[in-house]
């Protein structure tokens, strides 16, 4: 079941999707976090952020919208309060980093170089829920190149993962920019900018008006995007993809793996049932056994299209 992310060996492909699993031990009563391939934190910014007003989430058909607004405790509190807990977690940690300027990203990445338990950085250049920064970095290939290259310089020890936005015309263009600028891995996808309207009140349901769509509803698009990026960009460049978007069951995860993902992260489904962090890898192992695969990695990108 083990997978290799840019030289870092993970016991299995299973990860938490940023923003759906807290900072560290929030799910410890429900699942054995040591069994994760890697733990990915909530987005951390240089300064603390209160986030958007209430209401921040709404369920939609087979999915949900969120507009949390990158509410987080900030880098200093993260280092002081959460890193000691992460040290006891027993799984490699990737810290998701968000910012509103290239300087922000670089400053946070520099500091995280000094934290041994942190093994990688996931650059969130794709958050649709903040007014400045976030998404704007993620939709323009030139900006993607610029911010990735800058953080690459700061990530000497840490693995550098760039998390791509689906809110683009061609995700292969931003993927190529990130890979050319030195990303070790790509994670895709983040949420789709979306809106839900309370028709009785004739107002948006969310205080932020728009939010990010996640959950099973986005899975077919996410699978397609992983497949496109795999075939157009990462297969030849030998850069692993972490597949994200609507994964809830082992069969969903298999779609991503067949489409070209090496790692997997589960987001919204954790809210419904955090124990899917156990049942998905179990289902994957079972599938390999039944189909006679010795290693999960044999399946990566093995989709038959002809």
């Amino acid at each position: 079941m083990s997978v290799d992310i840019a030289g870092l060996k993970l016991a299995n492909p299973m990860m938490t999707a940023s923003g759906t699993c807290g900072y560290s031990t929030e799910y410890a009563d429900f699942v054995d976090l040591r069994r994760l391939g890697a733990f990915v934190t909530k987005s951390i910014t240089r300064e603390p952020r209160a986030g958007n007003d209430y209401s921040r989430v709404v369920e939609t058909r087979a999915g949900m919208l969120n507009a949390i607004g990158l509410a987080n405790i900030g880098l200093d509190a993260f280092l002081a309060e959460k890193v000691p807990q992460l040290e006891k977690l027993g799984a490699p940690v990737f810290v998701n980093v968000a910012g509103t300027s290239v300087d922000d990203y670089v400053a946070v990445a520099e500091q995280l170089e000094q934290v041994p338990v942190v093994r990688g950085i996931e650059l969130n250049i794709s958050c649709p829920n903040v007014k400045a920064g976030g998404l704007q970095f993620g939709t323009d290939p030139e900006q993607v190149r610029h911010v990735t290259a800058a953080v690459r310089g700061a990530c000497r020890r840490n693995v550098l993962i760039v998390k791509l936005s689906p809110n683009v015309t061609d995700i292969a263009a931003t993927a190529a920019a990130a890979v050319e600028a030195g990303a070790d891995a790509l994670s895709l996808i983040n949420t789709f900018t979306a809106m839900a309207i309370d028709v009785e009140k004739r107002r948006p349901v969310l205080a932020n008006a728009t939010g990010g769509l996640s959950g099973p509803a986005i899975r077919p698009v996410a699978v397609y995007m992983v497949h496109r990026v795999y075939t157009q960009v990462t297969r030849d460049a030998n850069v692993p993809i972490i597949g994200i978007g609507g994964i809830q069951y082992a069969r969903d995860a298999l779609e991503f793996i067949l489409a070209g993902a090496t790692g997997l992260a589960v987001g919204t489904a954790l809210f419904a049932d955090p124990t899917c962090l156990h049942s998905i890898p179990e289902g994957l192992a079972d599938y390999c056994r039944r189909h006679g695969f010795r290693r999960l990695t044999e399946l990566v990108g093995s989709l038959q299209t002809a």
Partner: protein, 316 residues
Amino acid sequence: MTRQASSRGVYLAEVAANERLCSDHFVLRLPVEGFPPSQPGQFVQLQCRRPVEREGVRVADWPEGRPPQLTQPELTGIEPLLRRPFSLAGHSQSGQTAELEIIYRAVGTGTRWLATVSAGDYLSVLGPLGNGFGVSDHKPLAVLVGGGVGIPPLLYQAERLSAAGKQTVALLGAGRADLLPVRTTGDVPAEPEPTGCVPRLAEIGVGSVIATDDGSVGFAGFVGETFERLLDAGEWPADQLVVYSCGPEAMMRAVGDLCVDRGVECRLAMERHMACGMGTCQSCIVKIRDDNPAGWSYKLCCTDGPVFDAADIVWK
């Protein structure tokens, strides 16, 4: 899965009963093996759809050599994806098995689905979650102020207060008689005088006042009015008293403001739309006073709450 005693978790329960209580409310009894001790004010997250494992549709088990069946969970209808939070209305223990009581109002997709569940069906229960009301160590008197679907957690709290020897009265309100989520006797007085008109509470020595907006049963008016009259009457002195309240936000705000005004300790069980209930999604924010420059910060209803001190809440 073996689990340590007293750990929160995801449990599968076989429904013992799911019965209509009044026009919109139902009472659900869930025996849950291994469920840890709980506190009144705590809640559980119920999955308002059939547990997938029971249907055998975890499709990593696609039958060998056959195309995927119509067993993809997402194709089984529009049952909600996210769980729904419900307060515990009671928790009794027999050996390893907790019998949880939940009283809910059918208002939307999830709760209407829940109303179709029968004894013998399985439900996935996640919990217990949140902080609970607690019981004051020194103050001997307690007043429960509940509105509509906020009444259930107060029934559980009444048991704790009574067991702790607190002299307790319950002021319970609803829009109209058939929206009251507790059974009453035939003779509910129209005056806001505590009586034994709610047998469940009378049995544990707690008197009740019933109020309805339209006067169809009990006092005609808001439950907040009955609370103000009770304080004014002077038999429940402010410094001896703790108020526990749950209900519509406007009601809790009125009760909370009055308590702050009169120097009465008051704990409110707040309600927010929740995606996770476990402190990870950051959706369920409540504005709480803080000594930072802004004067407030966000706390999470699901983990810091749902019970907050009325004096700490910054209302909209």
